[in-house]
Symmetry: D2
Subunit: 365 residues, 4 copies
């Protein structure tokens, strides 16, 4: 259930409602924005309406409504302004398209630094790079581990770009959180609930990739694990789903990005590299992602893709990335994205326009 307080509710009235919820052994999740306070009530036993009936007449309460979806904290029902996730000063979900770029795997100091400088000068806002690599075969390159983390840190110091890198195991969470600015949950780990529960307690933003066979609802429920566990700074990432089509590595599901934006206040970005698996399709997929309303892109770039230890076929080279960034010029960055989130003529009937001015960085208590 979701309790909406009236605009004029006092802090005391809100506190009293929270207490009452806690007295029934339910967990209140408070969400304040410029206009109102909303309190989500979470319980594994689904509170019977009777139990909290008295809340309906409590001072300051405007209305109590049931939760529409199987998820709550990630939904636009509990928070109508879009969340902006701040990663080392980069605002994901804000007015501009955020581009994260870098190699699939960190392979060497030279490879990483060359790439980092190049993507920065082309306009990227964040650096990506794999230290711990999930590989289908145990005989493939598994990443440089902590050595890679140190190189990523060095690259941040040189370029100022915040770092996003994957964490594959609860045991690595602390060390990765020490070096990286944002922790990525890979597609295969989207429903690694032990990992999600651990990341919910970390003070770093999380990039949550959609599983290759996850429905939009399963994806949002995975994010709900993070928010319910205490971490409000979550960015979703569509990276293609598994279908019968073999011409592309996965099937990029851009309508899912638009649909996710209707259902959740969290930012959503797109990984055109894994989605297509083909370098030549990355620019078109990136443009389309921007046009559909994605808040950002995460793109694989390598100085010499043909020598890459992983994912060479889908990596842009430095020049190709620079051309792509030109392509995604101002018209796309602002005008095209505008309509989706700010005007969205039709969507606006069921999902009212989002006041971007007042958005705040992930603001659960």
């Amino acid at each position: 259930m979701i309790v909406t307080m009236s605009e004029t509710a006092t802090a005391e009235e809100i506190d009293r409602v929270v207490e009452q919820i806690q007295q029934h052994d339910y967990q209140p999740h408070i969400n304040r924005d410029a206009e109102r306070t909303v309190i989500g009530i979470v319980s594994r036993d689904k509170p019977e309406e009777g139990t909290l009936e008295s809340l309906r007449s409590a001072p300051g309460v405007k209305e109590i409504v049931p939760v529409k979806h199987p998820f709550m904290l990630v939904s636009r029902q509990i928070k109508q302004t879009r969340t902006v996730v701040d990663v080392g000063g980069v605002r994901i979900g804000g007015e501009y398209l955020v581009v994260m770029a870098g190699p699939c795997s960190v392979e060497s100091r030279e490879q990483l630094l060359e790439t980092a400088h190049a993507v920065k000068s082309a306009g990227a806002s964040m650096l990506r790079g794999g230290a711990y690599k999930p590989r289908t075969s145990p005989y493939d390159f598994q990443g440089l581990g902590i050595e890679a983390l140190k190189l990523l840190k060095e690259a941040r110091e040189e370029t100022g770009l915040p770092i996003v890198t994957e964490v594959m195991s609860t045991e690595d969470v602390d060390v990765v959180a020490e070096y990286a600015d944002m922790l990525q949950v890979g597609a295969r780990n989207m429903q690694n609930f032990a990992l999600l529960r651990r990341l919910a307690t970390v003070s770093r933003p999380v990039l949550l990739k959609r599983g290759p066979s996850a429905t939009i609802k399963e994806w949002l429920l995975a994010a709900e694990y993070l928010l319910a566990g205490g971490n409000p700074n979550v960015v979703l990432c569509e990276r293609g789903i598994k279908t019968f089509e073999t011409e592309t590595r996965n099937t990029l599901d851009l309508a899912a990005v638009a649909r996710a934006c209707e259902l959740t206040h969290l930012p959503v970005i797109v990984d055109p590299s894994h989605a297509t698996g083909r370098r030549s399709l990355v620019p078109a997929a990136s443009r389309a992602a921007a046009a559909v309303g994605a808040d950002g892109l995460i793109i694989e770039v390598h100085p010499r893709p043909d020598k890459a230890l992983s994912d060479g076929a889908q990596s842009l080279d430095l020049e190709g990335f620079a051309e792509l960034m030109c392509d995604l010029g101002e018209p796309l960055w602002r005008k095209v994205r505008g309509p989706v989130n700010m005007r969205a003529p039709h969507a606006s009937r069921s999902y009212p326009p989002l006041p971007r001015e007042h958005v705040e960085v992930g603001d659960l208590p």
Copy 2:
């Protein structure tokens, strides 16, 4: 095999090569553009290289190469300039995004004419409307048949918009061809080979929808049936594929549009209505389709979607369509599409830029 004639080959030299091919009981497909003549050799028994070895040294022959893909006539190997399909003066595959709009089913004179006038004034170039409807259940509305065709003709006379409508059976081909400007093959009929063979002999352009579980290659091979049978005026249409995701009606596969554009010279359009199944997602999907390089859109519009006899949930109302058309303004129509087909920085390495100046309407003999 594909024979490329040198730029200086004379008409006589070309004729002699064609004769030689025919003497071996193979079928030559000649493709001429501004710069060169290419002759595709089709045979069910795959001509052994030896058989035509003598061609290699024939006067005017530049090179002979094997066919790269299971399809040939639709491929960019045989025709490097993009095909523009002319439908009653509307050029699909040309410089501008072509928007076809109208009701899922023609339901009445009033409904159709009201819609036709509205989509025209909003900027649509063609009118769509179903006369014969493929319905999953025999108990659902099956379309008005010939009565609908007559109304479509009237709508064309009133608005000047060329008509596209579905033909479901070889038996209906003649009557539909009499009234409509372009014949649509529905997704479920993409591999109705009897229908394809019949449409190959018709003097109308064909809109070929991708089957809900067709790979890109199967889709192009279905188009190959049309070209091999004699009809060069084919437009492909991506309309979503079937996957595990149930939040959208189908999964819109925009990377397939970009990939198809790499593989074929035929125009490719997108149906965001069937792909998403949700009215609220149609604008974002349309923008993304334009950005990925689609040559057009086919969109369901109904004056009163809640009363529609079919597909109401995915139909825009008249106002919604007008807003969408504003959204798809000049920047998208030209600048965004430009790069895909004309600059396409990376793609250009493997697939050279297409000289749009010199494109000709479907030009097989």
Copy 3:
């Protein structure tokens, strides 16, 4: 809606109910079995309960219930005894597993007759063989057409095996019906509604293959087209669906066979050849199909699979087929199938046991 007459209803009472339904312009579908008469009421406008309210108190009427599924005539709601389809004396859906076998394509008189004699002596009940072949590529072997039909007829005369062969187009229905005992609708044509409507009027049984991306409900609705149009003799055939798995040609969905048997009274058979695409998997898939309760199998057999013009990789040779038939011995043919349809302990709670004694060959009026 479905009207169940009481066991003691007289013919006159039944007639009067039918008349009343017709007076309201609805179409009654009468189903009589040993115990009772059931009348399905079909209407495109879904009769409002009020309209037929008076029927509730008509003499002989036991109860009126709404239709549970989008389909009606194929459902077990309207006919609780299993349908047995008789094809030239072979009873599909009866007590024994029916095995249809033969080449993918009829290639020559020798090939066909050699195969026909071999599969007969191994125990097959029917001969399959393609005359008109749906091929993904226009350049592949498309079948011998009417010449193949004549050879199939000759094979029947020599061996006594009834013939099943595919019909791809409304235009070929008459000629195929003249030569074959059972007409097959291929997977790609499952929703070729023009073809279904035409086959509904033919006096031959129809084998309806499941489309590669058809849900069970869509499959049953395709069968509903045939029954609603007047042909009660329909056999369903599972042949694998399209998924991401590439190790097998399709994904054999045997749980769909068991589920279909819960939902429909029509017989269901399995095509292990197309489902797996690998000769070595056909025996195991056949045993599993028998164990899951399938009423029959349709298997590709070729004297020299490595020389086959189509589907060689999935065809058994003559010896392999004979071994498979040994494998599917009496225990499987009777004991294993028994439980599914006659005892089915758990299923029996929701779906009562079917009295096989009283089944009649397709018995809609």
Copy 4:
């Protein structure tokens, strides 16, 4: 590469080959059976044939062949006899079908013990029961954890049935290994490589479920992680894959079981409960799994499925399970399974019959 020693090779000759491999910094995996010794050579850098060329002429070496598949240790290329995994005396992969049964989640002492006694007396060989539950929603019942493990231990002491239960996290491996006889990797964790690496070092057998969108090759590569890391006692479990079909919870892929048996020496079992999601389909799916050659079944059973905290709709009640076990009588357990693994007429051409007499429990060094 794979080195096959001749039948007469001496222990010394084998040792010398092993040494030579190690001198090149490659890792040898030795596999001995009654007839011969095979040595697999693992390396991330794929040893160039030249490097080990000298091995070809080493005393005792019969032949050196390249690895056919991306996996090696799980393949039948390196071990031709089927592996039997012993779990507390129960031999999975041996002559009999092994049935594991029990509740989805351990909910209480009474529920577990009642179920354990009932499934034992019905003929089950092992007890399943979830202590740590992977749940799509954070608000669903997450399992009783260690309390459940203690109850499982008590159930084993009372019934003698070995225990299989899921482990979701590296952190829980030790405690689960202390209480359970076999550790299950859930479908969502199939590519949780950190978990796989940890389980590779444990002295308990592992039950590895196929991921809902994992290809057969990805599944076998996940098992390869376990064998490469040192744990040879791995049982594979097919539990349905994700497709567009919604009538069943997942799509049971039985042909994948038959195909996996061709590719690997590891035992393969089937979970008909998760695969179908419907109680009424479990008996038919179980029979089919046995017929296709599965080595076992894992089935959800609950005393009162309608009160179950998870997966009630797919759980059999105690009586239903007993009926199913009757159904899967001796004819199925032996005769039907026989052909698949021991006779398999056709398969036997490419994959020779497996001498079951001499199989040994997981026998990598």
